[in-house]
Amino acid sequence: MTTKPGEYKGTGDYIASADLQNIVNVAVALGRPLLIKGEPGTGKTLLAKSIADSLGLQLIIWNIKSTTKAQEGLYVYDTVQRLYDSQFGGCDVADIKQYIKLGKLGEAFAADKPVVLLIDEIDKADLEFPNDLLWELDIMNFYIPETKETIAAQNRPIVIITSNAEKELPDAFLRRCIFHYIEFPDKAMMRQIIAVHHPDLDQILLGQALEMFYTLRALNDLQKRPSTSELLDWVQALALGGVKPDKIATAIPLLGVLIKKDQDFATVLDQLHQKGSGDKAPTPYGVHNR
């Protein structure tokens, strides 16, 4: 018999907005994959862990790379090992079963309790990859011709899929999913997120840092806007470095922690300079002045 998972309510280490919590529960109840999009660092990957923790379920992570094939998620037939064994003996090569290794999707199906399956960064794979997964995700089983076995899910796994790109996923795939876009946190929510990671931060320092962070994010023309992860690193570095809060608005200490690209570095200094936010701003770095 299938066991019903409980209700997702967020976890202490993960701040989930009310609508995100609701959507998670709807997706679970409808038995549909939940597709999560959002800027880098908005907590897409972490969500799956939070769901697993909150519901007390095992988390299985399938990290997608540009070369990942849908088939690998089901099972891999280790022909090389079998070849070796056939050459050098040792094992009974007629027993094909021992050369079949379940992929992440296969593992999720085979589990005897419901699990959370995270398919992370699905957009990295080939454009057809999501379509290739559709069928198995729908019927929740697959057949292994080599062993004449069917792997069927006893419990529908909770499938969380993340995507980073503006790139479009195939329509047929999208129709099957529930969709949620994690918006970039506003200041209030960001305070909560930071509090999770650095509970003892000086509030004045934090206020100044947030102010500057959101100013930077609003600049035009950044190749990569600083994300939550960078902000977390930055506030920690500021605190460790004993930086005075009033320094932040004028000199942007440790800017390199927030801004990684040379071009962006120059853009930041340039634009802030133009805005007149500091005559004290250091000369742009990384620009090839005439």
Binding site: A27, A125, F179
Partner: protein, 395 residues
């Protein structure tokens, strides 16, 4: 008619399907949405809209359609009425018959009716007048509470707030109108990664076919063959004209390449800008405040880089042919624009020029033919891009 909501979404350009619409009915029948209209707002959006670029369209339709509907039971009633009506499923592909088989409409009707009954009882029990909703706890996943973030919706007096929030059009910036056929462009650009297996990568992936081949040639003596994995070695410079109407194309190109880069992972991807023509300097940003010496590119970016230029290649002849022809007031080029283009082409033998001007009109402009002699030029269309990619793969 409730189904009008569906049609209006379609009209506005949201690619919603009947499958999704029926999923929404399913969710309603199971009682998932009715702590408030705002809960319905999120539920319907999560099921019907699959890209944040369409959130704005959804908001538009939602704010207009639900203006008069103040209480959630109105929606339940509307949904039930629609399911009860003579022809609940409009004839549209996929065929209604297939859909009807997939969803048990009779069952949905029954469940919806039950939901409505439940709501009434709930209201009597709690002695609430006026609008009432089920599930401020209990089985509905749409509770009223919850912390932080996003729009705060829900709560007693908020039956209108979903409409108000929708009317605020907070997702306007996420719209994608300016770009058409993005997927087609992506398909074409994706071809760029096939270049990756060529040379440097270490041979550390098993070549199964090769192994079987070699093994059988050695009469069954195992002979494992390795090959180079599909790693992307591609390095790309995207050089974009930002003059006049070209700025729009520069933004599109940049967005496209950024998107593709997330999935294909070029080894390196550089963006630079110019105005009409390339001279001593290009710029690291589109508003031209960060000059980079063109010579500096030559020194730092080797000839392995594929050079893709987007521009209309139309300008005053002087700008192209004369030293000092640049129209930027703070520059003065000693080499003519055309000479700079030739230097670029010589430095980067893998190069292509993408031009949004239709190819049929290229001969109408004086400056296009000479530039075409320097760079292979292609129309900035999915088809043209595909040809350009082919060109970039070969020298």
């Amino acid at each position: 008619m409730f189904i009008d909501f569906y049609y209006r979404l379609k009209q506005e350009g949201v690619p919603v399907s009947l499958t999704e619409w029926m999923t929404l009915m399913d969710a309603l029948a199971r009682g998932f949405a009715f702590s408030s209209l705002s809960a319905f707002y999120f539920l319907a959006r999560a099921i019907l809209v699959k890209s944040e670029t369409n959130f704005d369209r959804y908001d538009l339709v939602f704010s207009r359609y639900f203006k008069g509907i103040e209480t959630p039971e109105d929606i339940l009633a509307a949904a039930l009425a629609w399911l009860k009506s003579e022809k609940p499923l409009p004839a549209a592909p996929p065929t209604p018959a297939a859909l009807l088989a997939q969803y048990n409409v009779e069952e949905l009707r029954k469940l919806l009716a039950e939901r409505i009954e439940e709501q009434k009882k709930e209201a009597v029990k709690e002695k609430r007048g006026g609008p009432f909703w089920i599930g401020t706890g209990g089985t509905s996943p749409f509770g009223e509470s919850g912390s932080g973030g996003g729009v705060r919706l829900g709560g007693e007096s908020n039956s209108m707030s979903a409409v108000k929030v929708a009317a605020e059009r907070r997702y306007l910036d996420l719209r994608d109108d300016s770009i058409t056929g993005v997927r087609q462009f992506e398909m074409a650009l994706r071809a760029l990664r096939q270049l990756s297996t060529k040379n440097e990568a270490p041979m550390d992936e098993l070549d199964l076919d090769g192994t079987i081949d070699a093994t059988s040639r050695k009469a069954g003596m195992l002979n494992i063959v390795w090959k180079r994995p599909r790693r992307n070695r591609m390095k790309v410079i995207l050089l974009m004209d930002t003059s006049g109407s070209m700025l729009k194309f520069a933004q599109i190109s940049r967005r496209l390449f950024t998107a593709v880069n997330r999935t294909t992972h070029f080894k390196d991807l550089r963006f630079y800008y110019f105005y009409n023509c390339v001279y001593d300097r290009v710029y690291a940003n589109a508003n031209h405040t960060q000059p980079v010496n063109t010579e500096h590119l030559f020194k730092t970016l080797n000839p392995e880089y594929r050079l893709i230029i987007t521009g209309d290649a139309t300008m005053n002849e002087h700008e192209l042919l004369r030293p000092g022809g640049t129209i930027s007031w703070n520059e003065n080029n000693e080499l003519s624009g055309l000479d700079w283009l030739k230097r670029l082409a010589k430095m980067y033998p893998h190069a292509a020029w993408l031009n949004p001007v239709p190819a049929a009109n290229w001969t109408h402009y004086e400056t296009i033919p000479p530039i075409r002699e320097v760079f292979p030029m292609f129309e900035l269309t999915p088809a043209g891009l595909e040809k350009a990619i082919q060109k970039l793969k070969t020298r």
